[in-house]
Symmetry: C2
Subunit: 273 residues, 2 copies
């Protein structure tokens, strides 16, 4: 194969690294692809890494050791997190999002790939060191954000269902208490083969009021003898202050609604203000 | 700001373009970012574009006209499509995926971000010229693939639900006939505000047997006076040959099950063989 020039390598290498977040590529892979020496590829990596740092595009880092190589990790700066969450809070305060029962209409936002990806990046970077084996969510609205978080961590997504469907095979079913105000018993099901004992779960959902659904997911993980390394949501209500699940990490806080304008009062969580 | 060298620009530019598939960036945006002339940025783009072509990484293309600029589009080669779908078919033929009732266990595959993204790329590239305004899916298993398709097209995802939940606001509900063998009436709901009349919908789901759910989504779009520009699924059963929905585009075909081994017989659709 012809030697590929640096100018031609940099774009291709960037694309390959950023297309597989948190996955280690060996230098040998690039040496072979481009017909270049390891030292040359190392210099390429330094160049891409520096420009990523300069423009807040994430981390390109070299990992030492036998299983070493180079990987891309999303690592938005605090400035970028504030910008993303500030803009999102503003959108959620638009008129007309208040629904009967004190609910907030967020379906357009949660299903948007650009938003899901930005939130996935902010969530993922907080759990690199916890090394989750998978991300767990409960259908339906949390799926896009959970998927993008899983993508950034390079782990599978596991989806708990409201009922165990025929096409899931044998499943574990649990009951949990849902509903912030009007409590009720709900059922959650998860395919038996979806999780192995000893695996580490990161729980991600879109909305927390009472925290019952999230606690249900924590309980479900106990059934599977899996360890929960984190619980996070896009938005949590300020009240009730006491949640069924403990220590959940929320990106946004829904303070309440302005009854006159029908607008929600939403702010980024403390650490992003 | 200091001038940024070409070696430093290429990685950053690649990252920004590929992070927003199908979105046009003006040359001016990059000129400002890097303190470079348009002609220089144009040369950068040519370099990245050439290396993307060489390594089958997608299309970096210049769009002429008033709203012109440069954009990245996923455009996997036929060779790559065959490789992705061949590997997926092989995985789905693993022992133990046959479930009672002639169902195939696919939840691990459909929820995998890498798989969802590869399939999203293959689906999206077939509909660039149809310019859909959004991707529509029905909860739950199709969401990851539909989200990634939407991401590649740079359009929102819209999710139809099995029931209209309180937090969706007013919704349109329809009944549809589901089930290939044991037919039954099911309900599908979609938030009234999710779709506007005249919009163009691309329907994406994970599985088609009788085609009733997909036809339900087509009917739902009629209720919203939206136009359906395509119907696609990850996998369709070979039988029944006659589907309720017409002209659906399937990536894989489930021929049936080997009753002895319990393995599915799955092949890529005709055009990928």
């Amino acid at each position: 194969m012809d030697k590929i020039k640096r100018n031609e390598r940099l774009g291709a290498m960037t694309r390959i690294l950023t297309d597989t977040p948190n996955r280690i590529h060996t230098l040998g892979e690039f040496c072979e692809m481009f017909g270049a020496a390891k030292s040359t590829i190392s210099e390429d990596i330094d160049l891409v890494s520096a420009s990523f740092r300069q423009f807040d595009l994430g981390l390109i880092e070299t990992v030492a050791g036998a299983a070493g190589g180079v990987r891309y990790r999303a690592m938005p700066s605090m400035d970028r997190c504030r910008r993303v969450l500030g803009a999102l809070a503003k959108r959620l305060q638009e008129p007309g999002r208040m629904l009967p029962g004190g609910f907030l209409y967020t379906s357009d936002v949660t299903a948007e790939s650009v938003t899901a990806q930005s939130l996935g990046e902010i969530l993922a970077m907080q759990y690199y060191d916890k090394a989750p084996d998978f991300v767990l969510t409960m259908e339906t609205k949390g799926i896009p954000i959970a998927l993008m978080t899983a993508r950034m961590l390079d782990v599978p997504l596991v989806i708990a269902r409201r009922d165990s469907r025929a096409y899931e095979g044998s499943a574990v079913k649990i009951n949990y208490i849902a509903g912030g105000g009007n409590e009720r018993i709900e059922t959650m099901a998860l395919a038996r083969r979806a999780v192995n004992p000893g695996q580490r779960a990161l729980i991600v959902d879109d909305f927390m009021k009472g925290g019952g659904t999230l606690q249900g997911m924590v309980d479900m993980m106990r059934e599977f003898q899996a360890e929960v390394v984190g619980v996070c949501v896009m938005i949590a209500t300020a009240t009730p202050q006491e949640k069924r699940v403990k220590g959940a990490n929320s990106l946004l806080i829904l303070e309440g609604f302005d009854r006159e304008t029908g607008c929600a009062i939403v702010r980024p969580a403390q650490q992003y203000q």
